[in-house]
């Protein structure tokens, strides 16, 4: 029979009490992670230095999740997508978490001298390359830029969340129009800010090296991480009896397609960067890859090649896999782990050449940040219905079917 438009008014679509419960649980995990990080770090000589380094890894990871979500929200508006309405509220909430990342950036700014060689006082004195870049790579301009990035992201994320929430009440189509109008310039601002943030936060760890595609690499990782995390969140909510009818296998299928597409896109960008540098074979460029191809890092590089591309590519290529929500959620978690390793691979080789010193401290720092991030997300999701109820395209999304 022809599919009827579902009536979701009869099913729970608010977190209500669960929101508070999950917020508290996540916050407790966060505190355990923070205390644990401190305890583990103070146990060794260079623990505090490594704490800051692995902190940057997890920071880049969670920042990329929020940015991926922000891009998703704007992409849906700018293309006037109908299918995604039922999953958009969750993306809006993840994107709004970006202001937490602004606060979490404070330790990075305070520990700048320990993380970034160029931020060392006097680093440029005997280094002509750094001296030439000092107009851009200096502490005050760095902080100014961070403030600008986070202002752009927070304002955009907040605008979409608030406008969409306002629409829940009145169902005004003019608000959809407004979000569409903001999305187009929003994506331009997003592209510029994300690129430069990736240059500043990650690429400048090696201030002598540069790659123009680096920002795109971080963008690919961001959007991939968002689509990898989405199925897990949706399955989790549905296991709690929420959105069981609103989100169908068709929506999972589309998220799976995106996950597949961005797996390939990530690999495409990663290889583009690698091949040009490999082919040019200029020492000032190849040293970045050399660091990642020697000692213990060879194994991590190969893990990324096979674990971050080949395996997910084969796992996600089939339609049948993408239409099994729980299986897709498991693959998504796996891909998310690979995304974290990717960030680890970007950051740690700069400090620890030859040795991939993964250990308990990395887990603790991750848990601390994941706890805070999830606590805020759980609280935020409790503040509004899990579906943008006033969106004029909600019906289209509920009836959506892959042809």
């Amino acid at each position: 029979m022809q599919k009827e438009v579902l009536d979701i008014t009869t099913e729970p679509r608010r977190l209500d009490g669960r929101s508070t419960k999950w917020t508290i649980i996540a916050a407790i995990i966060g505190v355990i992670g923070i205390v644990g990080s401190y305890v583990v770090a103070s146990g060794t000589d260079d623990g505090m230095d490594y704490l800051l380094q692995t902190y940057l890894v997890s920071f880049a990871f969670f920042l990329s999740l929020s940015l991926g979500a922000l891009f998703f929200v704007m992409l849906q508006h700018v293309t006037r997508a109908g299918w995604s309405v039922v999953v958009r509220r969750i993306a809006e909430a993840i994107a709004t978490n970006v202001w937490l990342m602004a606060i979490l950036a404070i330790p990075i700014v305070l520990g700048m001298e320990h993380l970034y060689h160029w931020a060392h006082p006097g680093a440029a004195d005997h280094d002509p390359l750094l001296a030439a870049k000092i107009g851009f790579l200096n502490p005050s301009f760095f902080v100014t830029r961070l403030v600008i990035y986070f202002a752009v992201w927070s304002i955009l994320a907040w605008f979409f969340y608030r406008t969409s929430k306002a629409q829940d009440g009145n169902g005004d189509p003019a608000l959809t129009r407004r979000m569409e109008v903001v999305s187009a310039p929003g994506i331009v601002l997003f592209a510029l800010s994300l690129n430069f943030a990736a240059f500043d936060l990650l690429m400048s760890l090696d201030p002598h090296w540069f790659s123009t595609i680096y920002g795109v690499y971080y963008f690919a990782a961001s959007v991939l991480l968002f689509f990898a995390v989405m199925p897990k969140i949706l399955v989790w909510l549905q296991m709690q009896g929420l959105l069981k009818r609103a989100v169908t296998v068709e929506h999972y299928h589309d998220i799976g397609k995106f996950m597949f597409a961005f797996t390939v896109f990530w690999a495409y960008i990663a290889f583009s960067q690698y091949m040009l540098i490999w082919y040019g074979n200029i020492p000032e460029e190849t040293e970045w890859f050399l660091k990642r191809q020697t000692g213990g890092w060879t194994a991590i590089s190969l893990t990324l090649l096979f674990g971050h591309f080949v395996l997910p590519f084969l796992m996600l290529i089939s339609r049948h896999v993408k239409r099994r929500p729980r299986l897709l959620a498991i693959i998504g978690v796996y891909v998310a782990v690979m995304c974290w390793i990717d960030m680890y691979w970007l950051v740690i080789p700069e400090f620890s050449p030859g040795v991939a010193r993964f250990g308990l401290l990395d887990v603790m720092v991750y848990l601390g940040m994941a706890g805070l991030y999830s606590a805020l997300l759980a609280w935020r999701l409790g503040q509004a219905p899990l579906v943008p109820e006033g969106d004029p395209r909600l019906k289209e999304s509920l009836a959506f079917e892959n042809a």
Binding site: M1, Q2, K3, M275, Y279, N281, I317, H320, E401
Partner: protein
Amino acid sequence: MSADTVTQPAATGSGTTIYGLVANFDKIDEFLDAVSKVREAGFTKWDTHTPFVVHGLDAAMGIKPTKLPFLVFGAGLTGCTVGIGLQWFTNAFDYPFLISGKPIFSLPANIPVAFELTILFAAISALVGMLAFNGLPQLSHPLHSSRLMKRATDDTFLISIEAADPNFDLITTRELLESLGPLQVEAVEA
């Protein structure tokens, strides 16, 4: 609406053979309902014709997923192998040629060609495989002589059952179609 507007005699005259029967509907719900019943009756050589994509039609017809992806995947792998093999044969084996100090056979340099040939083989096999699985191109088809069929691209939904189907019987199949509430049932000459 009942099927009292029979447009052709129940059996055609001697000498003419029957391609099959077509029945048309003008409401999607009734049409999909009828499609399910035809499927349940166990026909294998039958089809539906609609002016636009009807969601749920595949499920109602019980169409199994296409085998095309396996062909495309195999062709993609072949393309990848051919791409790498060709570069190895021409550049490293048959006429070793050193370029800018790179190894004679080096994978990174070979990836773009391997990638492009993967895509090329996969895309061509998808197109050709789709045509072959559908028995295309086919310049003429008995259904084209049906007046109802002309409307299937305009304003009506059609079910056609081939006489070649082992379950087909001119009388009982016509009765089945008429019981589904079509606007018309028509016999199509081969």
